[in-house]
Amino acid sequence: MKDMKEKPVLLTMRNIQIEGRSDETWSPIIKGVDLTLNKGEVLGLIGESGAGKSTLGLAAMGFTRDGCRISGGTIDFDGIDLMKASEATKRGLRGKRIAYVAQSAAASFNPAHKLIDQYSEAPVQHGVMGRGEAEHDAVELYRRMQLPDPDEIGFRYPHQVSGGQLQRAMTAMAMACRPDLIIFDEPTTALDVTTQIEVLSAIRDIVAQFDTAAIYITHDLAVVAQMADKIKVLLRGDEVEEADTRTMLASPKEAYTKTLWAVRSHARATQPPVEKGTVPVVSVKGVTAGYGQVDILKNINFDIHKRRTVAVVGESGSGKSTAARVITGLLPPRQGQVLFNGQALPADYRQRTREQLRQAQMIYQMADTALNPKLRLRELIGRPAQMYLGLQGKALTERIRDLLNLIELEPDKFIDRLPSELSGGQKQRVGIARALAAEPQFIICDEVTSALDQLVAEGILKLLDRLQTEFDLAYMFITHDLATVRAIADEVVVMQRGRVVEQGPKDEMFQPPHDPYTELLLSSVPEMDPDWLTKLLKERAEKAS
């Protein structure tokens, strides 16, 4: 931790109020927040989605998204009043003295231009350096960000570079003009834990090297603990509290902060082992599958028993979702088969009977896209009940009301709502009800909580847990988040590049000895200890040498 007392103030925001427009009326997003940042200091900004973190971060650049406006307060950046500054003045600052690193590098790099062209743009446009010099500088920064092949990587297009590398390239791009301040807007949220570590350490190093001040926005407490000198907690546009990182982690004052800290405690009790000879609900036997010439899955085997949850974990690209597609029959395997209660299922869903289809349902990661936005909950949930169980009229309405009660949504209030009238967590609950409506024995949950805030995700996990006991369900739970695994799984299947590298009961998985890949996954999950990243990197360096 740096000594902050001698550093001069860089950014002062006083009583900031920001409003967003919806249907002709302006409603507050940020309700009078103060923020002070010294030169070279890193402030962590945390809160759930909708807390206004990004909005506040962008306001530090004097920028608001379309449909938002800063309605009050003062912003002083190194003696420049950003509230009164002209657009041209602010343009002169952006990219040059204040830079921005976005959440999804894949979406924030222009697909039409090479990385190095996008790197050079700001320095050349701001007249900081010439084109040739900027390209030279880019290679140097790519090297410092530990990007592979730094001399060449800039000449690729964004789609030719992996997500973690893009995120580092974007941080390098933000550094191009050596700004005084960088806004990091959830830069590692979209990454796997193993990639996240590389990006975090690269960001931390480069910020320290150039003594850049930063506002680090995230909803992940363990991440912010590694990155920030001090932490500010936001809740619905209001500041909850602010303190230096160690104080905040050790003794949060406010009740809300304490609940945030407590979220990761939920864990499922260990279940007795399944009796020998029990027929599993779903059994994946020697499955090899893929698209085109490429095999994504290579000889996969695992079983899922009644009233048990099997968590399938691995990085993106490891084949988790492909396994789900094979089980549901969307992707017929090249070899192997899927058994349901001991009976082989036809490989292609089009050859399965309606009864077979009914027994296996899915809940998706993005409830937003998985629910038809034009249908009301009555139709969304009623359709499978009607189709699979033949319910009609009053019986159908009764069933829909029961299902809504099950997912803890008041039927009278919700039955005629559209998905757009629901929060993220409520939408995911509707996704669950829709799967339940078919009265299946088996449900595949594909990253169902990864798009949700921790508190909301916790609620969803508890609901799934309760429904499992109530209806004897078997779950296949696809996730890359090991905290979620700890919370819900009975058994764990670890996948890497299409193979199962380790599988077994949860307690064994979290105990050494591990397969090297499992070890890497487990050790990469950020912990609340502010020294965790430093220690881990040191350990890994020692092991490597």
Binding site: F63, F109, N110, P111, Y157
Partner: protein, 318 residues
């Protein structure tokens, strides 16, 4: 790049198939025209013998499929037969000058309309919801909403009555380029007014559609000025839909300008086709229809190739 060549080859193959199907349809359609061609030419008083002799002379006595393949065989070698009406000129000659005129007018109109609509579309996107945007949109929509002949007559009323430009477009072998441009100005302007709205609005919409993307926000947060954001960051990603619309409009300029040709007495293909239908001169009708179909196929192929080239994800694979 190999990918592009495979695509071009595939599309050309499909294009040929399309042309073949169209040739069958055209041929059948001319077959279905009511009335007897020989009677129509020779008049009611012709005897059975003269009719039969005439049919034999132009091959009408053969069964339809045989006539079709004879015609197709000739067409493939560039011989579209001879015109049946009056002077019996070879169809190829008849069409050649007309095709030149049509292409001249289409290119003339496109040379004005395409740059104009791109610039207007880009400016409208840059100053969206401003007075300029609204005025440009209103003007473009107004001009597209009037029937072509009406626009043409208004232009004649304003620009030809005063003697600035000729209202009748005479084009012949001796016309120089400069004269041609001057004489064809009014039809070209009419066509420009008709096609600009479509292209301009698509350019504007395609760009604005992208302005909410994270990479546009990123460009703005890098302090890039708004004009450069549009030109450098939005436009390259908006090219595919814009190119498609331009190609469709170019195809329209070649094939759909009959009304404008009639109003300005412009000797183009459209007029030739209408005249030939009236005269039942089916070798000409068939040839012109094939040329129109080929224009559509080629322009769409070009549009697809250019759209692909504008997308680095399709050319530079992982």
């Amino acid at each position: 790049m190999g990918l592009i060549w495979t695509m071009i080859a595939k599309r050309l193959g499909l294009g040929l198939l399309t042309l073949f199907v169209i040739s069958v349809i055209i041929f059948s359609a001319t077959e279905l025209l009511p009335g007897d061609f020989a009677k129509a030419i020779l008049g009611q008083s012709a005897t059975e013998e003269t009719l039969a002799a005439f049919r034999k002379e132009i091959g009408l006595d053969l069964p339809a499929y045989q006539r079709y393949f004879n015609w197709l065989g000739g067409a493939i070698q560039g011989d579209f037969g001879t015109s049946l009406s009056g002077n019996k000129r070879p169809v190829a000659d008849l069409i050649a000058t007309r095709l030149g005129n049509t292409l001249f007018l289409a290119l003339y109109a496109a040379a004005i309309a395409v740059p104009l609509s791109l610039v207007l579309g880009i400016l409208a996107a840059l100053y969206r919801n401003s007075i300029f945007d609204r005025a440009a949109n209103a003007a473009a929509l107004t001009s597209i909403s009037f029937p072509e002949f009406f626009v043409a007559y208004i232009l004649i009323f304003v620009l030809a009555q005063s003697g600035l430009f000729p209202s009748m477009t005479r084009m012949d072998a001796d016309t120089t380029l400069g004269e041609g441009l001057y004489r064809a100005f009014l039809p070209a302007l009419t066509l420009t007014l008709v096609v600009t709205a479509h292209m301009m609005r698509m350019t504007r919409a395609a760009i604005i559609n992208l302005l909410a993307s994270p990479y546009i926000e990123m460009a703005r947060l890098k302090g890039i000025n708004p004009m450069r954001v549009i030109l450098k960051h939005a436009l390259p990603n908006a090219l595919a839909p814009i190119i498609t619309v331009i190609a469709l409009n170019l195809a329209y300029l070649i094939t759909g300008v009959v009304v404008v040709e009639v109003v300005f007495v412009y000797p183009g293909l459209g007029q030739l086709m209408v005249d030939s239908v009236a005269k039942r001169d089916f070798p000409v009708v068939q040839a012109v229809a094939l040329i129109f179909a080929a224009a559509y196929v080629l322009l769409n192929l070009t549009a697809d190739v250019l759209s692909t080239l504008s997308n680095p994800r399709l050319i530079h694979r992982k």
